[in-house]
Symmetry: C2
Subunit: 278 residues, 2 copies
């Protein structure tokens, strides 16, 4: 039993029979968009909390884990990540980490629902602090169509920072989209998909890896990391490379990048690459 | 709100304003001992769940993470872990992992509350499968006194697999106990303390590390790992060595050990050693 359900936001994970929740002090926003319902709460100890269709997207306190691990292992595995596209990622946290890499020349964020970004600007402004970077472009459109229409071989990294594989994001977990990503990537290009919990969603991860294999990717790795606000608190990003290996950077490259992180470092990267499915 | 509070066990973490919980189908046991209250539930998707004084101890589904990460990084960092003592650990899961190491000649588990072990034998029998190993000794006594009375320099590894730092386990987080552990360890010996969440309990971790430093330990490292059933889903074990470094084993040593794991491997070990406090 919760001490006072009125003052808690909780998310039940039906397939795992588990729940996570946070004490909330204020319901800051409630927006119904063409695509989904977005809520933002002020929590007692986790800063702000964004929820889409009842599923937790992020909190101020712990989103650094997800955003660092979606971004840095891919960008540091690529020798020259110049052209980056983020599909989804409307909170702009992944974009912020991408723009921390000096090699990046163009970072396009293609989010289907503009309201996610507008609410992030309002309630997670620190994640949007690099949105004015001249290398950044914010597009509000369908990610499936965006990748389909991308010139073949024109991207170095695609980061699929999606919601769960139900609702608007469902197609982002399908084989056609993954094949389109393969086509859009240059040789040596890297695709990353957020791939849910290594403990709860092993079938989904196998499906993602199967799609990547079928699409012709050569190296596929699933990297695990802690992520308190998601079911089980253990999450993953699955990477696929079009030619070439997936490896952490040298300590020199990481230190030379000047990028400050709270979780990621090359040794953590190496450990995440060794994640085995339990 | 939870869909039906009657059928959920939830644990609120007051200091973090967060909650985790599981759907439960049956309340299997309720035992009040001299030290604490122990409950065991059958959950819908996590196997059995043991709770002490309202705090989750373990579930069938995810305890491998904690038990592997409490044990293997220490035993593989030691060249010859022959004499091992576990303080607490009454569920016998840590003992099972310790006994997987062929170099171990003696593994003593000193748990203050015999009922924890009796209930584990009943509801988590897989964790107790090595309790009959002739190298194993189960002692039910006060861990503080046990370490104080241990011959100086007679142990290679001490694993403090305790409950939270309130109630019976409080003294296990104090400076005197840590100093006694230092005295009981041989040169090159390693102490491991479960040290709570890197996200929520940073002050506690700093305190543990401070005690270790004051006790004269030479190398101190806090290793993070996912642990779904504990608050934030991100947990840690802090290691301290009396002379010598803390490093992962070679791939040859790990493979030669014949130990099968679901999470631990030398690369994961290396990554965990690189955990930084956020």
């Amino acid at each position: 039993m919760l001490p006072d359900s009125e003052n808690w936001f909780t998310e039940v994970c039906k397939e795992a029979g588990s729940v996570v929740g946070w004490q909330v002090d204020e319901h800051l926003d409630h927006v119904e968009t063409e695509f989904q319902t977005i809520d933002v709460y002020r929590t007692r100890h986790w800063g702000n909390l964004m929820v889409i269709d009842g599923f937790v997207m992020l909190t101020t306190r712990d989103n650094f884990l997800y955003h660092e691990m979606m971004t840095h292992p891919a960008l540091f595995a690529h020798p020259a990540p110049k052209r980056v596209v983020i599909i989804g990622g409307g909170d702009c946290g992944t974009l912020r980490e991408v723009l921390a890499h000096r090699e990046v020349e163009s970072a396009v964020q293609c989010e289907i629902d503009e309201q996610v970004t507008r609410l992030s600007e309002k309630h997670f402004s620190e994640l949007c602090e690099r949105n004015d970077d001249p290398r950044a472009e914010l597009v509000f459109d369908d990610g499936l169509a965006f990748i389909k229409n991308t010139v073949a071989g024109s991207l170095d990294v695609i980061l699929v920072d999606s919601t769960d594989p139900i609702g608007p994001a469902e197609g982002l977990f399908g084989p056609e989209f993954v094949a389109d990503c393969h086509r859009a990537l240059a040789d040596g290009g890297i695709l990353v998909q957020q791939s849910e919990s290594p403990l709860i969603h092993q079938n989904l991860i196998e499906g993602i890896r199967g799609n990547m294999e079928k699409a012709g990717f050569d190296t596929i790795r699933t990297l695990g990391f802690p992520q308190p606000c998601y079911p089980s608190g253990w999450w993953s990003a699955t990477q696929a490379r079009k030619g070439g290996i997936l490896a952490p950077p040298s300590a020199d490259r990481f230190e030379g990048s000047g990028i400050r992180t709270r979780y990621y470092n090359p040794e953590v990267h190496r450990g995440a690459l060794a994640t085995q499915m339990p």
